[in-house]
Structure formats: structure tokens, C-alpha cells
């Protein structure tokens, strides 16, 4: 049974420990939210795929979380490999998490050269008046990094606000950008995944 494979795009979450990357991941995965920083709630969770259909073309977004490696150590460079997009996350109640973004950006452009990069201000429910990080500061940041940033979003994992919109927008940008690329993907250029024997016969023999 030949099925057309929906193109899958790896998207990675980047940013400081505690800005809400796992919360974004949890919202994406099963649309839940927990307040406590509870390692157990993400234990064993690695990445998760969901199909989006912007402009009538199916695209599978595969979102990856860091596994908390950034807490004390650095993230492995292999986390970035094969990523088509990266979401740079900071939190509105923590200006330091915003000001350190250039460091994370550097990691992305080093290890995931071709990834499209998006900026996400999380915890928008905690924005004070006046805000600790203003819109113009965010615009400035994008200008400073030579317009590498393809989109800016404000989200709140607590209320769920802005998340669906963010992923839909990212999906539609990736569809447009990758339209030709996906079609041209040849086996020559790419390696293969190793899969257990039994799965090989199936058409969608992808283990993830």
C-alpha cells in the first residue's frame, strides 16, 4: 500500500532554562499545562509530531524539546542537526532570558545552518505595565541579527494564548519555503534511518 508521505520538519526549541520550552512542548503535545517545574512530567518525552495543513498542503511539524540538558551543561550539537526551524524562546518576566538570546542564536546558526528561526516571547500573561521587554526591543533584536528571524510571537502556555497561531504560522512559512526543497529531496543527499527488521516492509517505515 503506497501512501504519500507527509513531509516532516524538525523544529527545535532553544532558550534559557525555565523560560517555558517544555510548557510549549506540552501544549503542543497534549494541550496541557502544569505550574510546577516537574521533571517527571516530561520524562521520556523526546519529540512529538503533529500535522498542520496550511494552504491545503499537509506538513508534519516535529517538535523537539531539550531534555533539560541546558540546565547545567550545554546542549549536544546533534540536537540541532537536521532541524528545519528553531524557536528561540525567552520569557517576559525574565529580561536576562531575552538578553542572552544572541548566544542561543549563534548556536543555531552554527549547528543548524539552514534552519529558519522564529522568536517567541513566552509567559505573555506575566507582562507588566510597562513591560520589561518592549516590542521595540524585540524589533531591535531582529534587526541586529540581520533579519535572520522569520517571525515574532507572543505566547502564554498558562492560558494557551498564541500557541496554535504560532505553529500554524510556522507551518505555513515552512510549506512555502520548502515547497521546492521537499520535492527535490533525493536519497543521494540524505542518509537513512535504521529501523528494526519487521518495520522495514511497511511503507511508512519511519520509527518516529
Amino acid at each position: 500500500m503506497a501512501t504519500i508521505r507527509v513531509p516532516e520538519q524538525k523544529i527545535i526549541l532553544c532558550g534559557e532554562y525555565g523560560v517555558g520550552k517544555s510548557s510549549i512542548f506540552r501544549r503542543f503535545t497534549n494541550n496541557t499545562f502544569v505550574t510546577a517545574t516537574d521533571r517527571k512530567s516530561t520524562l521520556g518525552l523526546d519529540h512529538c509530531s503533529k500535522i498542520f495543513s496550511p494552504s491545503d498542503r499537509d506538513l508534519k511539524l516535529q517538535l523537539w524539546d531539550t531534555g533539560g540538558m541546558e540546565r547545567v551543561a550545554s546542549i549536544t550539537s546533534s540536537y540541532y542537526k537536521f532541524a528545519e526551524a528553531a524557536i528561540l524562546v525567552f520569557s517576559f518576566d525574565n529580561p536576562a532570558s531575552f538578553h542572552v538570546l544572541s548566544q542561543h542564536l549563534l548556536d543555531i546558526v552554527t549547528y543548524a545552518e539552514n534552519a529558519k528561526i522564529f522568536l517567541c516571547g513566552n509567559k505573555s500573561d506575566l507582562i507588566e505595565e510597562p513591560p520589561q521587554i518592549t516590542d521595540s526591543e524585540m524589533d531591535n533584536f531582529c534587526e541586529q541579527c540581520h533579519n535572520l528571524i522569520s517571525g515574532i510571537y507572543k505566547t502564554s502556555c498558562k492560558t494557551g494564548e498564541g500557541l496554535e497561531e504560532m505553529f500554524v504560522d510556522i507551518a505555513s512559512q515552512l510549506v512555502n519555503m520548502n515547497r521546492s526543497k521537499i520535492e527535490l529531496q533525493s536519497i543521494e543527499q540524505h542518509g537513512f534511518k535504521i529501523v528494526p527488521y519487521e518495520e522495514e516492509s511497511q511503507d511508512d517505515g519511519c520509527i518516529c
Binding site: K40, H47, S74, H190, K193, I194
Partner: protein
């Protein structure tokens, strides 16, 4: 760092990362520390190229080498057997999802100053120029025997007990000549020396089966190589460990492994901080007083701007030089990878020549391997000691891995890891403890 853990793992080489992953998955609270700023220790792939040159105190590479960032150079050359234990570990742990592989294009063996394709099936055996007409038939019969052999079905043993009779006897049963024995034992069964001849034949029969089953999986050769280099492997297992709750610290010097009553480990000290633990798992470099030197391995990294002659311009290949062909007692291995694996800039090849050191002049020992490579643009030689732990760790609860040997695949690596895991936990690793498909969370 001042916390209490079940296990502390020191060093992020491949073996330690696999162990860390397995321990975390088994529900242990794991702290994984490396004194270096990067993951992988000796199993890292060096990037960018400038770093490799400075590591070996060479003048920086010129422009012809392309972008330094396009290079990921392994320090220890190895391939994965497509049906071997590391692939099984990767599948069972799900770490395979972090990696992409390419099949190694060719597998060659050295005979009389030239290289020839390793014949693996009956058709290739008949076409091979390694043997004369009559020898080909005998070799074919031998291959058929191995293919039909089932360890649990004595009917397939054909009046030969491989558990008690040795390999020499099996060769003699099929009247294979010395040359054929040579490439069978070294290029198919991948033995490093000839001591296997006197051991029960079952070992070698199983190794040949592993070779041909591996070959059957992806074609061209039994070997696989990961995109972006071998350094991706330890990182994949490190992520597995982190996903299952393991804590990572890099750039953290280890000053002392703290022992308590009866010489049992109670913690690890870095500066003024002490992390408590019940067990330590580490590579030999963290415990110089608990390991002894067993030998030396020489590895020579060669950067080439052309493929190897007589390999049909293969973008990746393995060449085995059986010991006897060059008057040695251990084999010389040549492995070649290239830009197609994202480990070198466009048009470049990385060849690695390695062997177990037998003389005081190891560089001369690898000459037969270097001679096969043609013009070498840049050469980096390293000779490293091969260490083994002095005890099994049961008393101290410090479990030490062996250094990486000269073999070109990961079979011995996995055996060591599984053995350490068993000693440390008292049980065989239970593969069912891992969530099988990650599919769980996406459906």
C-alpha cells in the same frame, strides 16, 4: 552538584554515554560529568577543521580545505555492523531517531600488494580473483555450510561439532588453503589475529554469519556510518539519558573519587563540591591508579583530496590488511569516509589507518596501509595506550570501561558496555524498559 545520586558517570565517551542512557532508562538517578567542554571525549568528532590542526600542533589549514565547519573528524575510526550489537542497542533504545546513516560502499582485503573486494556470497566467491578455480568451489561449499548453519539445530552441523572442534579443523574439513583462511578469518570474521584458529569454531561461524547478515540488510557492504561522524553516537545516548532524567555537567574537573567504608565509593569531588553516589562508572582516564596498560594502538588520520585507487572511487570503504600478508601478528585497518557523510568539505576524503602497535616504531608498521592511499595532503599520527581495569569493580562499585581497541567496528565496544552494566546492576539490560516506539506520544 551537591546532591545525592544513584550513579555518577564520568566522561562522555560512547561507552559512558550508552551506560548513562541505560541507567537512566532503568530508573536510576544519574549525574553525568565530563571534564571537557564538549561531549564525546575520545569518541568526539572534531569540528571545525582548524581545531583538529591545532590539536596536533600543525599550521592552520589553507583555503583548499574549504570551510572548516564542514569537517567532523573522528579520532577513533569505527563502522557499525548493520546487524551488529550497536545497531540493536540503537533500535531498542530509540536513539536511532537522532541519527541518519549511510551504507559503506566497499569492503576490501589486501593480498599480495593489491586490494580485492571481499567476496561474501556464492556468486561473488566465484567471480573473485582472490582464489583459483578449485579453491573457489571449496570456498563456496564452506560459505554454504556457514549459511545453513543453525546453532540450535545439530542437523545443520554436518557431523562437525563447532562447540568442541576448533576453527582450524573446520577449515581443514573444507580443505581451504592458507590464503582463503586468511581473508575468511580476518576480512569476514574480523579477527584481529590468528588465535581464533585454536578456539571453538562456533565463534568464527557466528562472526561470518554476522558479516553476511549485515551485508544483506543494506547492500554494498556490511558497514554503516552516521552522517556528521561518530561523535553523533555518544550525543544521541546522552540525550536519551537526559530525556529519562539524567543530569549533565560539562567542563567540570574531577578532583577525587571519594571512598568510604571498605573502599566503597561514596561520592565524587570537584573543588569544594561533593556529589554523593552509590556507584561510579567511568573511562580509564578518570582512574589512572585503577587501570593497567595492556598495549598501544596507533591511529593515523589522513586527509585526501581524491578517492582510493582500485575502489571504484568509493566515497566510503574499508580495507583490511591481514597480518600475515605483511608479516605481522595483528591486522592493519584502513577506513575511508568523505564529504558524502558531512564529515569533510566537498571533494575531500578522510582515511584512517590503525593497528595494534607491535614494535618501537609504530609509524613504520602502518606503512602498508598508507601506501594504498596515494597522495596524502595532511597526516596526523597518534599513539594511545590501551587500558583495562585492574578489577571488576564489585568491591569499590567503581566500574571502569576499557579503552577503545583497534577493531574497526563496535562489537567489542558493546560487549564491554553490556558486561559493565551487568556487573553494576546485577542484571542483564532489560530492553523492554524503554518505550518502544516514540509513536506513543504522537498518536
Amino acid at each position: 552538584m551537591d546532591e545525592e545520586y544513584d550513579c555518577i558517570v564520568l566522561g562522555t565517551g560512547l561507552k559512558e554515554c550508552i551506560l548513562s542512557g541505560m541507567l537512566s532508562v532503568s530508573g536510576k538517578k544519574v549525574l553525568h560529568v565530563d571534564r571537557n567542554k564538549y561531549y564525546g571525549g575520545e569518541s568526539a568528532s572534531i569540528c571545525p577543521l582548524e581545531e583538529l590542526f591545532s590539536k596536533f600542533a600543525a599550521a592552520p589549514p589553507d583555503e583548499s580545505y574549504g570551510r572548516g565547519r564542514d569537517w567532523n573528524v573522528d579520532l577513533i575510526p569505527k563502522f557499525l555492523m548493520a546487524n551488529g550489537s550497536l545497531v540493536k542497542l540503537l533500535i531498542h533504545t530509540g536513539v536511532t531517531r537522532y541519527l541518519e546513516f549511510k551504507s559503506v560502499e566497499g569492503s576490501y582485503v589486501y593480498k599480495g600488494g593489491k586490494i580485492a573486494k571481499v567476496p561474501v556470497d556464492q556468486k561473488e566467491a566465484l567471480a573473485s580473483d582472490l582464489m583459483g578455480v578449485f579453491e573457489k568451489r571449496r570456498f563456496r561449499n564452506f560459505l554454504v555450510y556457514v549459511q545453513d548453519f543453525q546453532a540450535d539445530d545439530p542437523k545443520t552441523w554436518k557431523d562437525f561439532d563447532p562447540n568442541t572442534q576448533n576453527m582450524q579443523a573446520l577449515y581443514e574439513k573444507y580443505s581451504l588453503d592458507k590464503n582463503t583462511q586468511d581473508f575468511t578469518g580476518h576480512a569476514l570474521a574480523l579477527h584481529r589475529d590468528d588465535s581464533y584458529l585454536n578456539r571453538p569454531a562456533i565463534e568464527t561461524v557466528n562472526r561470518i554469519k554476522l558479516y553476511s547478515e549485515s551485508l544483506a540488510r543494506y547492500g554494498k557492504s556490511p558497514y554503516l556510518y552516521p552522517m556528521y561522524g561518530l561523535g553523533e553516537l555518544p550525543q544521541g545516548f546522552a540525550r536519551l539519558s537526559a530525556i529519562y532524567g539524567g543530569t549533565y555537567m560539562l567542563d567540570k574537573p574531577i578532583d577525587e573519587i571519594v571512598l568510604g567504608e571498605g573502599g566503597r565509593v561514596v561520592g565524587v569531588r570537584s573543588g569544594n563540591e561533593i556529589a554523593k553516589c552509590k556507584q561510579v562508572y567511568c573511562d580509564p582516564t578518570y582512574v589512572p591508579d585503577k587501570v593497567h596498560k595492556k598495549g598501544k594502538v596507533i591511529r593515523c588520520i589522513c586527509l585526501l583530496d581524491h578517492p582510493i585507487a582500485n575502489t571504484k572511487d568509493a566515497l566510503s570503504t574499508q580495507i583490511i590488511i591481514p597480518q600475515k600478508q605483511v608479516g605481522r601478528s595483528s591486522d592493519i585497518y584502513v577506513s575511508v569516509v568523505s564529504y558524502t557523510h558531512q564529515v569533510a568539505a566537498k571533494g575531500w576524503f578522510i582515511a584512517m589507518v590503525s593497528t595494534t602497535v607491535e614494535t618501537d616504531n609504530p609509524e613504520v608498521e602502518i606503512k602498508p596501509g598508507l601506501d594504498l592511499l596515494g597522495t596524502i595532503r595532511q597526516k596526523f599520527v597518534s599513539v594511545s595506550d590501551y587500558f583495562e581495569p585492574t578489577d571488576d569493580g564489585l568491591q569499590s562499585q567503581i566500574f571502569i570501561s576499557q579503552s577503545y581497541d583497534a577493531t574497526t567496528h563496535f562489537e567489542t565496544t558493546c560487549l564491554d558496555v553490556l558486561d559493565i552494566f551487568k556487573r553494576g546492576t546485577g542484571e542483564e539490560f532489560d530492553f523492554s524498559k524503554i518505550k518502544h516506539e516514540l509513536g506513543d506520544e504522537e498518536q
